[in-house]
Symmetry: C3
Subunit: 107 residues, 3 copies
């Protein structure tokens, strides 16, 4: 049994949560802030059998890893430019700790 | 020294908290959501000596384990039924992880 | 790799956070309550290499340890006393757990 503690950006939180629930992996979520992830983030507590760790890490990676997206900034007020240029931004990212669980109980 | 991480339903949170404090066991509580427990829940962090783990698990079990209760649903508006029948619901439940603590400090 | 879980009073939270960030130590913060610390508190999750544990514990101690301060209570309404006497209060304090991390991933 392991306890996986994963900190992900809020924007990825629902998607990750749903992906885990689809695999019948129960998650507990806590609102958190700070870290390398500047925006608000979510801390997941995920208890799994040793043989499921790899699968859960895959699901976390697929749903929250750092990626680049192009966003089109909205210019405030008038601008001589006819339109605004898309800019590339880095979003997402997850920090994950896997801890040994000495004992697990479900009451 | 162990760190006990217990996720319990919000409805059991105060009762559990008081039961632990009565035994001079300090608790830190975090608001959480999700997991098998659908409603809002509370995550307890409880640091205890190895010889107190069993006692704390007993207190958690006594104050939050799954039980059945009968509730009488309130019918909205008119109904041909003279009164409403009590229905049995499952409430409570706790998920508990016991982790080894390598070092504990109190500043 | 270790995971340091530190519970500190809210009044010390920003100062501690800034001190850790200055040393390039990423922190995740969660709002918490209870424990020996009566007022609202903050739970820090800090992942560090084994060789940084001592440094992080020093930073936590320096920024949140229990100390005595004198505060001057404000008397409500009239009082025969010309002024109020400063009283000594205990503030601060941190509870810190160091846990072994079996595996660390950054996606
Ligand atoms: Ni746009
Ligand atoms: Ni009723
Ligand atoms: Ni004053």
């Amino acid at each position: 049994m392991k306890l996986i503690i994963a900190v992900v950006q809020d924007r990825d939180s629902n998607r990750l949560s749903q992906a885990l629930v689809r695999e019948n992996i129960p998650v507990t979520k806590l609102a958190s802030t700070g870290g390398f992830l500047r925006a608000g983030n979510t801390t997941f507590l995920i208890g799994v059998g040793d043989d499921q760790v790899e699968k859960v890490l895959d699901i976390i990676r697929e749903n929250s890893q750092v990626r680049k997206e192009f966003i089109t900034p909205h210019m405030g007020g008038d601008t001589q430019e006819g339109g605004s240029c898309p800019v590339e931004v880095r979003i997402g990212g997850a920090t994950v700790f896997v801890l040994a669980v000495e004992r697990f109980e479900h009451f």
